[in-house]
């Protein structure tokens, strides 16, 4: 059995309540940090742990904290980004639903480390159950003296608020989140200045993902060095993976980073293989915004070595033969799934969610979606494929925030790895219109693309 740090007690009845959470060792990290450590020492432990942001970018959390400006007499803020809404990614809401005190404990310790006296958990507006759960848990923590004035007699004050989000995917981008939190339209800000210098209300602010903040608890409990021993290379610790698609057992799993992808997909401890005895065709390893990988490159690197669930291994080979860890939204497609349809589906999402501030994203996402729709529904032209590649290039890197990249990468990678299938949609429009996606039975080129050795 793999070691679990965040979900260790997930199956304990009542773990969402303060009493049970404390019985299982909860809030030890708060007591340790506030009574025995200085804020700088907490930051140092997080640095030692090698924890990387679990929201998608994978930036080292301790380093991000150390960038926080600390001008005299100016408030600092910690904002938890719980605006999880990318297709395929649902691990944060799982954590918030079943073990909310893990997040609240992490918020207290992290806020203490950053010198923040007011912190916010910005939750996607649609997640009302989670908002209620967190509000209740905050009330419990406050009654027990873990929040409010002079926490545990340490002299440290912290007010923690839950803020429902604007219900837009773009509000998960950290600067758009801050705009939304300030009550404005959730449009990304142009950086610099970065939030660490001028964030919420113009004050120095750190924005961290739910899982990143929850991971601070075991880091403080066991020490940064212990945490760094888990995992592989610069991918330390454990990671929540939300697995979905054509898997025998989709769900949220906590893995030790470095687990072979093949083991994650096929082992009974994890996903249990591809459903209905089908073969694996492709995966999206880190949420819909990362490049799609065909089965062979999912399981093995270009040089034949096994691919691992780690930041480095997943991105090995760049976008030519690799992908990204992203947020850990692992989607598996079996041999019957239509890549064009899935790409269109992702593209439709990004078109819908583009904020519209900058021209390439505003216009380009819609353009790609329309071309993909045309291809999927049998009206595509061969030139559409190159057009898609070109439009995605025009968007990538030229937008205010990474949503443009997130929209471009899935399209570009799908064509890179599954061009035959796109061409088949052009050549066989009637067959491709079938709603029964038995693609492998239809088309020889696509059957060849399914190269999983399973």
């Amino acid at each position: 059995m793999a070691r679990k740090l965040l979900l260790e007690h997930i199956n304990v009845p009542g773990i969402n309540t303060l009493d049970v959470y404390r019985q299982k060792g909860g809030y030890r990290a708060v007591e340790k940090a506030l009574k025995t450590l200085t804020p700088d020492e907490v930051v140092e432990e997080v640095k030692k742990s090698g924890l990387r942001g679990r929201g998608g970018a994978g930036f080292p959390t301790g380093m991000k904290w150390s960038f926080l400006a600390k001008p005299e007499g100016v408030a600092r803020y910690l904002v938890c980004n719980a605006d999880e809404s990318e297709p395929g990614t649902f691990k944060d809401r799982y954590l918030m639903t079943y073990i909310p005190h893990a997040l609240i404990e992490g918020m207290i310790v992290s806020s203490f480390a950053l010198g923040a006296n007011t912190s916010y958990i910005y939750v996607r507006g649609e997640m009302m159950p989670q908002i209620r759960i967190l509000e209740r848990a905050i009330a419990e923590a406050k009654n027990a003296g873990f929040l409010g004035k002079n926490i545990l007699g340490s002299g440290y004050d912290l007010e923690l608020y839950v803020q429902p989000g604007g219900g837009a995917y773009i509000c998960g981008e950290e600067t758009a989140l801050l705009e939304s939190l300030e009550g404005k339209r959730g449009n990304p800000r142009i950086k610099p200045p970065f939030p660490a210098i001028a964030g919420l209300y113009g004050c120095p602010t750190v924005v961290n993902n739910v899982e990143s903040i929850a991971a601070v608890v075991p880091i403080i409990n066991d020490g940064g060095d212990e945490y760094a021993k888990i995992g592989i290379g610069r991918s330390t610790g454990t990671k929540l993976i939300s697995a979905s698609g054509n898997l025998v057992r989709p769900g949220v799993y906590e893995i030790e980073l470095g687990l072979p992808v093949e083991e994650f997909i096929y082992s009974d401890e994890w996903c249990g293989g591809i459903a209905n005895g089908k073969r694996l065709k492709a995966t999206v390893a880190g949420g819909s915004s990362v490049p799609v990988l065909p089965a062979n490159l999912t399981l093995k690197l270009a040089n034949g070595d096994p691919r691992l669930m780690s930041y480095e291994s997943l991105s090995e080979g760049g976008f030519a033969t690799g992908t990204m860890m992203g947020s850990g939204g692992f989607i598996a497609f079996d041999e019957d799934q239509c890549i064009v349809r899935n790409t269109w589906n992702f593209s439709r999402f990004y078109h819908h969610e583009s904020c519209g501030q900058c021209s390439p994203c505003r216009e380009g996402t819609g353009w790609m979606e329309k071309v993909l729709h045309r291809l999927e529904y049998g009206h595509g032209k061969m030139s559409d494929i190159d057009l898609l590649v070109d439009v995605s290039k025009k968007i990538e890197g030229n937008t205010i925030c990474p949503l443009g990249d997130a929209a471009a990468w899935p399209v570009a990678s799908a064509i890179r790895h599954f061009r035959d299938e796109f061409e088949w949609h052009v050549n066989e429009p009637v067959k491709s219109l079938s709603t029964n996606y038995g693609l492998a039975n239809y088309a020889e080129p696509i059957a060849k693309a399914v190269t999983a050795e399973n």
């Binding site: 583009s354 021209s359 353009w367």
Partner: protein, 334 residues
């Protein structure tokens, strides 16, 4: 120690104040190396960064950190660093990306220059000419909107809007209350419709001047004439509300339009009030200064110019000079 920082743009070095944006540093040099800007407006705080037409390549970050920036950056919102090296027209990557941006901008902006009131004064027209493709690759239906009257003097035609946000910033910053904004997301975005009745203050007319395309037009001028048939004259009046410094646009003896004065980058020098803009259209209302300087390359200058510059072939040939006498006289007549 100098309080200036050195930046090199397309091989030309200039010293500018710290905090200056790359775009403004380029403007201090002038000429072709100045990146185009559709949404940035120096008089509007917070503008810029959205249209992405001004993107440039930073090939050297600074003396301290000479690494190039990994992505193209918006020159209007990126501050210069000492020793920075920037590539604008010398970078094929920038030209390629900019042509992509122009293509995107033209997806939902009709090329109806022959009937658009902004023709001859349109930044996108210039940009499209320099970077556009001969024909569009976009084959889908464009979005269309009904025209909206914003009060009795201004008309919004969202078909032509490129969502630069300039008018939003203008309304936000030079009027007493927030009167309009952007509705919806992505390519469904539009300037909010409630402005039909909401833009009502002394300076609302400035949204017309800041609009880089023909989305916001002056109803008192709209379709009365083409801009290149008019004669711009700088004039002023003693106005209690604004500086009163304007450009009068003459057709024959009549003032058919009044606008704020614009600099060489198409930005107004000072915002003017609605009284000056819409209500003072007699020559007697104004103290005439001199003909407005119009760039030789502008279509507006096609009819009448401050100075006579006949082509060398005409200058050198007395017969041609005589033959063109009438036409040449027209160009000097104000």
């Amino acid at each position: 120690m100098s309080d200036k920082v050195k930046v090199t743009i397309d091989g030309i070095t200039v010293e500018v104040a710290p905090g200056t944006s790359i775009l403004n540093a380029a403007r201090q040099i002038g000429g072709d190396i100045v990146p185009p800007a559709m949404c940035y407006y120096s008089k509007l705080e917070g503008s810029g960064g959205k249209c992405r037409t001004c993107i440039v390549k930073v090939s050297k970050g600074s003396e301290k950190d000479p690494r190039p920036m990994p992505k193209l950056v918006a020159s209007c919102r990126t501050a210069v660093m000492d020793g920075m090296e920037v590539m604008n027209i010398t970078s094929p990557e920038v030209i390629e990306a900019r042509s992509g941006v122009v293509e995107m901008l033209l997806i939902n902006h009709p090329l109806d220059c022959p009937v658009c009131d902004q023709a001859g004064e349109c930044d996108l027209q210039n940009l499209g000419y320099e970077h556009g493709l001969q024909k569009t690759r976009y084959e889908f239906e464009r979005r269309t909107f009904e025209r909206i009257d914003i009060g009795d003097k201004i008309q919004l035609h969202m078909n032509r809007c490129i969502l630069c946000y300039r008018c939003v910033f203008t309304a936000d910053q030079i009027t007493n209350k927030r009167v309009h904004g952007i509705l919806n997301r992505g390519d469904h975005s539009e300037i909010s419709t409630y402005i039909q009745t909401a833009v009502d203050n002394d300076f609302s007319g400035n949204v017309i001047d800041v609009c880089p395309v023909g989305a916001l037009t002056d109803k008192t001028f709209r379709f009365k004439n083409r801009v290149w048939f008019t004669k711009p004259i700088d004039a002023h009046r003693d106005c209690p509300t604004c500086s009163g410094k304007v450009t009068l646009w003459y057709k024959g003896e009549d003032v058919i339009r009044v606008t704020a004065r614009k600099d060489i980058y198409g930005e107004v020098e000072e915002f003017i009030c609605n009284t000056c803009r819409f209500d003072k259209k007699k020559t007697a209302d104004w103290v005439i200064e001199h003909p407005t300087h119009i760039s030789d390359t502008s279509v507006i200058s096609s009819n009448h110019y401050e100075t006579l510059k006949p082509l060398p072939v005409i200058q050198d040939n007395p017969k041609l000079r005589l033959a063109n006498k009438v036409e040449l006289e027209k160009t000097t007549k104000f």
